[in-house]
Each structure stands twice: as C-alpha cells, then as structure tokens.
Amino acid sequence: MITFERVTKRYDKRNRPALQDISVGIQPGEFVFLVGASGSGKSTFLRLILREERATTGKVIVAGRDVGKLSRWKVPQLRRGMGAVFQDFRLLSSKTVYQNVAFTLQVLGRKNSQIERAVPEVLDLVGLADKMQRYPDQLSGGEQQRVAIARAFVNRPPLLLADEPTGNLDPATSVGIMKLLDRINRVGTTVIMATHDAAIVDQMRKRVIELEAGQLVRDEARGVYGQDHQP
C-alpha cells in the first residue's frame, strides 16, 4: 500500500531533517500507530503520503505511484484515494453535519442520488444518524470528530490517515473514536494514525512505528507505546 524508500525530508538547510533515511512498508488492510514525541516527524510522515510535502531525497510510493513524481494536476486524484482526519476536526461551521459530509462528494462532482444514499449510510456507521441536521458547534468534541471521520470515509477510500485524532478528546470519548477507526480498519481500510496517547496504543496492540528526532527507532508488529522500550 505504502512504501518509504530511504526517505529524507528537510524543511530547511540549517536544522536537522524532519525525517531522516526512513524505509518502511505498510501493507493493505494494516492498522499502524505512528508514535513519537512532538517534533519527531509523525506529521511530516503523513504529509508526505498526502503529497502536501515532497521528500527531499528517497521515494514515497502510495498504491504503486511515486507521489514525489506525481504532476500537480494528478495530486487531486491521489488524494481521492485517501481520507484524512485531524486533531482540530476541520469542519465547516456554516454547514450542517449532513452538508459537511456531503461536501466531499459534491466537490468530487458526484450525483445527487449517490450523495443522498452515501451520506446517511456513513453517518449511520459513525453513530450520528440522528444528528444529521445539527451544526458542528451543537456537537461534542467526540461527535465532531466522528463527523470528520465520516467525511473522510464517505468516499470509501482504501487508506485513512489520522493525525492525533484523539488529541483534543477525553479518554472515554477517545475509546469511542478508536472503536470506530478499528471498525473502519476491519472492513479492509488501511489506517495510519499518528498519536502520543500511550493508553490507546497499549490497548489496541497494533503495529507501532516509532519515530524519534526524525529517525525510525522501532517497528513492532503488536507493539505498545513503550517508554521502557527504547532501543
């Protein structure tokens, strides 16, 4: 699904690279935690996959395509194959829950009939079928993140990227979000989630990739967050 081949990303010449010589592969259907302290390069890792940034050296291959070599007008097509969720939800406050989710399909030029079918379906999946006509500020943080996940997933992309999706949520709510991401993963979606929520990582027992100061320091199949696990 995703392959990093000796990827280094430098934002500027003076500082150390945000990512240094990373080589890693992620298979279709995997659930991967990306852990590490702030500034360890987790977000950069995700941004390279999204092609918001390009690798300084090395190759990032997503679904068989070298995203660094992708011409600019093909980038939208790449992004249609992945959903993204962020710590700050990024919902449109002037639109209802339904409209927020429908927005994705509208900007992709989908037919109305398709939108009217797909949106309630995905809102049902995230457990918000009864709140379709609410506005984001009428929802709790956990509910807002569910809307964001619904929006990212309504197009049924094979890959879901989540950058600290539980960063703004209390532990109980976080568990709900994790259950939802797990459910999405179980239907075959590859999920990559950057986090520094140790409790969640320990509980889920999924593959853990740990970054430290831009270097890959650990890649375990059923890992824990692991302060005691330093190499």
Binding site: L50, W73, V107
Partner: protein, 302 residues
C-alpha cells in the same frame, strides 16, 4: 451536479463579499465606459476622415484687384493667365482628378448660403471675394505637388489645402482619444488590482473550505472555478452597465443632440457602435478573469 455546485459556491461568494462585489462592478462599469468612449472617438475620427477626405479640395485663390500678396503686384488676374493656370492643372492629370472654376459671383452665392443668418452678408459684395480653382486630387496627401507648382506665382494669391485645416481638427480629436484611452488604461490597471484584492479576500475568507476541498481531492477546476466565476460575473455586470451607458450616449448625445446640430458631418453609426460593444464587454471579463487566475495561482497552491 458539478455545475450547480460551482454556481451555488459562486453566488455564495458574491453575496458574502457584497461590498467588494459592488466596488468591482462600479469600477468595471466606469472603466469600460471610458474605454468605449475612447474607441468611439476613434471611430468618429475614422468616419469623419472618410467623409471629409472624399470632399476636400485644394483651393487656388486667384488675385483680385486689391490683393496684398507680392505675387499680386500686377493687380487682378487676367483671363490669359487664368487660362494658362487651367492648362497647367490639366497637364497634372491623373493626380488632378477634377478642376472646377469658381467665379466671384459663385463664391458670393456660396458665401451667402453659408452665412445665411449672419449680418456679415450685408457688408460683403461679390467683388470682395476671390475667384478660385477648386482642385480635387486623386490622392489627397499629394498636396505638395500643387503647392510647388502654383504657390507664389504671379496671379495666384494663395494655395490652400483644406485637408490641412481638417488635420488640425483631427489632431484635436486624436488628442481627446489618447486622453480617454490613457485614462481607461489606468482604470483598467486599477480594476485589475481591485479584482486581485477581492479574490485574495475571498480566498482568505474561504480558506477552510479550500483546505478541505484540497484534502478530499477536489480538482483544481472545482476549487478555482467559483473564484473565477465570481470575478467574471462582477465584470459582466459592470460590462453590461458600460454597454448601457455607451448605447445611451449614442441615442441621447449623438443621435438626439449632436447629429441634428451639426448636419454637415457624419457621426459614428450604429454599425460602429455595435462593433465596439462586444470588445468593451469582453475586455472587462477577460481582464477580471486573468487577474483572478493570477491571484489564485499565488494563493491557492496545491
């Protein structure tokens, strides 16, 4: 579906930016009206040139009994000299297309006709007006040939090229046109800057939408089209106002006021006006869209 979404985004944008939208509309309307006026003056000069250059003549005024010019020191021209001049003019064909002799009496009749309502006619007699040859040239720009042959020779008081008189007038009109077009050019620049700013504000106001659109893989077309259409719609409305102003100018100023008062000359025709209108209208839209597109390249990078 795509189209409806783009249009609804466009009109949302126009509504949200209402004050800026009005600013763009008014600027475009004023600019394009000036631009159109400049083009109309040019068309006016062209149609007057066509009209007048067909009619202009070189006049060779002949000496009267009291002409002060040194070439007239011998007094009034004799019939022999006059015949001699006519023969020489005939020798200059085909440059000389037509020769017409105007006697004192005919000159007086023309004079009376021209100044019908003026008291000056009472003080002028046929004797005070010079007899002349009116020469029509096949190429009106070759006036020099006639001037060289006849100016200053005995019996000729003066050689006058009507075209030169007209040219002075055309220069004035050309000056007006240059001023109108320069002001229009400056205004077009202002319009472009205003559009750039408007689009920048609009892009900033909608940065969240745009960010999400990029994230979910909306095409550049989908992201930019609403902004481009916003600029185009404002420019089109402004353009329509300008078109209305130009048509009103033709109907109320030219057809109702100028043409009846100055019957001796031609004014711009509807044909010429209709040729100018689409140029004016499209110029506004093109400038607005180009300005918007350049702005978006900078502010909406993928």
């Amino acid at each position: 579906m795509k189209l409806r979404f783009v249009l609804s985004e466009t009109f949302q944008g126009l509504r949200r930016n209402l004050t800026m939208t009005f600013a763009v509309i008014i600027t475009v309307a004023v600019t394009l009206t000036l631009f159109g006026a400049g083009l109309l003056v040019r068309a006016q000069v062209d149609s007057m040139k066509d009209y007048w250059y067909d009619r202009v003549e070189v006049s060779i005024f002949l000496c009267g009994a009291s002409s002060p010019e040194p070439s007239c020191s011998l007094g009034a021209i004799t019939p022999e000299v006059r015949t001699q001049i006519e023969t020489e003019l005939n020798a200059l064909r085909p440059l000389v297309q037509d020769i017409y002799y105007e006697s004192k009496e005919e000159a007086y009749q023309h004079f009376l006709e021209q100044f019908r309502d003026s008291p000056i006619t009472q003080n002028v007699t046929a004797d005070a007006l010079p007899e002349s040859f009116r020469v029509k040239l096949s190429d009106p720009t070759k006036y020099e040939v006639i001037a060289a042959a006849f100016a200053g020779r005995p019996g000729v008081e003066q050689v006058q090229d009507q075209r030169q008189l007209l040219d002075r007038f055309f220069k004035l009109l050309n000056g007006l046109q240059v001023i109108a077009l320069s002001v229009a050019a400056a205004m077009l620049a202002v319009t472009a800057l205003l559009v750039i700013n408007t689009i920048r504000v609009a892009a900033h106001a909608r940065r969240r939408e745009v960010g999400i659109m990029r994230l979910v893989g909306a095409s550049n077309f989908m992201i930019r089209m609403p902004f481009l259409l916003e600029a185009a719609v404002s420019a089109a409305v402004g353009g329509l106002l300008a078109v209305g102003a130009i048509v009103a100018g033709k109907v109320f100023l030219i057809d109702k006021v100028l043409a009846p008062s100055y019957r001796f000359t031609a004014f711009v025709s509807w044909e010429q006006v209709l040729l100018i209108l689409p140029i004016v209208f499209l110029t506004g839209i093109v400038i607005a869209m180009v300005a918007a597109a350049l702005t978006l390249r900078r502010y909406l990078k993928v």
